[in-house]
Amino acid sequence: MIPPAPPLLPRSRAWSWRSQTFRGWVYQVLTLALLVLAITYLMSNTFANMRTRGIQSGFDFFLQPAGFAIGESLFEFDSGQGYWVAYLVGLSNTLRVALLGIVLATVLGTLIGIGRLSSNMLVRGLCAVHVEVTRNIPLLLQLFMWYFVMTELLPPIETPLKPMANVFFSKNGLQYPLPEWSAGHWGTVLGLLAGAVFWRMGARRAHRQFETTGHFQPARTHLTGLASLLALTAIGWLAGGAPSALSVPEVTEINVVGGGAVTPEYLTLLIGLTVYTSGYIAEVVRSGIQSVAYGQHEAAVALGLTHSAELRLVQLPQALRVIIPPLTSQYLNLIKNSSLAVAVGYPDLISISSTSLNQTGRAIECIAVVMLCYLTLSLLTSAAMNIYNRRVRLQDR
């Protein structure tokens, strides 16, 4: 039996003023004490200032009527409702522009990022120009320019652009036809859900088949899935009595009535954010694709994979691993950048809050609520992206 080796350097148990542990405690206690002192000092200043200026504090104003109208909102809002409803409108407006912006910027950015690697020199050059121009000009300036285009250069409402039948594009924004909601549409919704479930089941069956037999038929599976989705939706729509009433926008003498509409402010912000962020996403996508070693391509070709199979099974999974983390931070940037809405008068969270601040004078409360909202949004986004990242990252054995 081998006796356990004695430790080379016996740890000194003797307590010492100079031990690292003790000094560590001293530093931490000192830091915290300083911090508490500073906060106490600043807070006492704040209370004194608020007393002399007669500023009230507290969050009770949230229940009082807001007293201002909001230009656009997802749901009905009138000035008699409380500040908290106004904040909800602001939050929903922020989300409305940020979520759609994320989707559009991802699509555009991916296309441009792939375009930068094209073998076609013209496409490559155009994409490079897009990336450099969008990334090197401040977003605020770009927004001002888009706003000028939307409100000054577009034709007036009397002579709108008509890219499609019943779609109007003018200084008054974009108006488009919208199906009118009726009870029969529940059939359509049910059909759509049933189709989606069917598609998902088919995909899982195909996956099981792939695991057991090695037969892999993604195109067939998904085409069948798509067909059944469309068919079931159509059946549901017919079963609901085929409601086909459309609310079509019509130009009257002063404005446009009916249909769906978005304001020029919304369009400005959406286009501005999409274009600006697409430049960054393009760079993320390009560097992700370039990070996949060339040997992977050679190996895929040697295995006889087709071009699309190689992209889907070899290149993309490895590129995604590199792309997801920086893409997450671009999404976060887009959400935060949507706060520039205040510059073009779109009623987002910041601009609602700044109006409330001017009316109530409660700066600390208003700004704290806004920061809390953005922090929550940021945390939720990174949590969601982290879940996705866990799925695509390298699985260690």
């Binding site: 560590g24 530093y27 931490q28 830091t31 915290l32 911090l35 600043l42 200043n45 704040t46 004194a48 200032n49 608020m50 002399t52 500023i55 094209s118 073998s119 076609n120 020199m121 013209l122 496409v123 155009l126 450099e132 121009v133 990334r135 090197n136 000009i137 401040p138 977003l139 605020l140 300036l141 770009q142 001002f144 320019m145 000028f148 000054e152 250069l153 976060l332 935060k336 950048n337 706060s339 520039l340 205040v342 510059a343 910041i350 700044s354 601040l357 700066a363 600390i364 700004i367 806004v370 920061m371 953005y374 922090l375 940021s378 945390l379």
Partner: protein
């Protein structure tokens, strides 16, 4: 069984022409049917877009500051006259007109120092002294009230000098703070680490506008009674804290990239914590992240435009101010394009510099 007999196959044809204009064209524009179609499509698009753009921007453009001529050409040609007419207002904001040589010299000094600082030969301690001297000179020139210069309140500062001042000062002030935050985040002491993480993640989780709102509305409340705090200083504090959080993450990247052996070697030599950081860790870590710091500076330079929202007239704000004039309001786009071009050139130069630096700086140092 027959022994295999070697029968040579015919030699492969040499590749057809690979050099010269035609193969180059084919390789870059027409190497497949899809690519050929794409090329034609892009060419058609360019043919539709470029000639009218050229006509508007160059051929029919009005360069003199002649409002009548501009109005006559509206819609057909660009009115660059708006830049000739309002150029000084755009570049210097509301700074008194006769005194505008002062911001001009001050900005020139700052730009010169920025350019000089890009050269690696001058990266030595004396550079810090040069920055202090130039910032002092900048402040005295702009503010006046010394050597016979008239006093100009910070409220009237604007345009390019303000943009340069805000972005460079906030980065310079944020730098030491960011180093402390990054080291704190890597620290073994839980309380310090937690505080640093909370600060960094909080600031990075909220938009710059909300930080600027905080700086302009809440900061005055935090001051002792009767103390006035200048709006420029408030915005600078906000921007510095904001930049520091982002910079701290950049520096943390550098700290994490250092091989652990460096620290262990330093420990075994008997160096203390601050000695290790100062002599071993930071010189190597910072060198790794210089390109990323330049990128942070580009971000700060662009973000400065947001001070417009808390009513400081930097380059972006000054152009809005200049184009508020009803006579020239129509030529908003030309003025914006002028300012956009300034930003574009500055940012492009910096990002090219950062790419160049990346290639030059770390050769032979990076591991693996």
């Amino acid at each position: 069984m027959n022994p295999a007999v070697f029968t040579p196959i015919a030699a492969r044809q040499p590749p057809s022409q690979v050099l010269g204009a035609w193969p180059w064209l084919r390789r870059n524009f027409f190497d497949s049917v899809a690519n050929s179609l794409l090329t034609l499509l892009v060419l058609a698009l360019l043919a539709v877009v470029l000639p009218p753009l050229f006509n508007w921007a160059v051929w029919h453009a009005v360069v003199q500051a002649d409002n009548a001529a501009c109005r006559a050409a509206a819609g057909v040609g660009a009115c660059w006259g708006v830049v000739t007419e309002k150029g000084r207002l755009i570049l210097f904001g509301r700074y008194p007109f006769e005194e505008q040589w002062r911001p001009l010299i001050a900005s020139a000094l700052l730009v010169l120092l920025l350019v000089v600082s890009c050269l690696r030969i001058v990266w030595r301690p004396a550079l810090v002294g040069a920055w202090v001297v130039v910032f002092t000179a900048f402040y005295l020139l702009m503010k006046g009230d010394v050597a016979g210069l008239t006093l100009v309140d910070t409220e009237r500062w604007g345009g390019l000098p303000l943009t340069l001042l805000l972005s460079s000062v906030s980065l310079v002030l944020a730098f030491p703070l960011a180093i402390l935050l990054a080291l704190g985040r890597q620290s073994q002491l839980p309380a310090i680490r937690t505080l640093c993480v909370i600060f960094i993640e909080f600031v990075r989780g909220v938009p710059l506008i909300s930080v600027l709102f905080m700086a302009s509305f809440i900061l005055p409340l935090l001051m002792p009674q009767g103390a006035k705090i200048d709006v420029l200083v408030r915005v600078l504090i906000g921007m510095t804290l904001f930049t520091a959080a982002y910079l701290a993450e950049v520096i943390r990247g550098g700290l994490q990239a250092l091989p652990k052996g460096q620290m262990e070697a330093a420990h075994s030599l008997g160096l203390g914590y601050w000695q290790i950081q100062r002599k071993i860790v930071l010189p190597q870590a910072l060198r790794l992240v210089v390109p990323a710091i330049v990128n942070t500076f580009i971000g700060a330079f662009k973000d400065t435009s947001l001070v417009t929202i808390v009513s400081l007239y930097d380059l972006t704000g000054a152009v809005q101010l200049a184009l508020g004039d009803a006579d020239w309001r129509k030529f908003f786009m030309e003025g914006q394009l002028f300012v956009a071009a300034i930003y574009f050139i500055a940012c492009l130069a910096m990002s090219r510099y950062s790419q160049w630096l990346e290639g030059h700086l770390n050769t032979g140092i990076r591991r693996q």
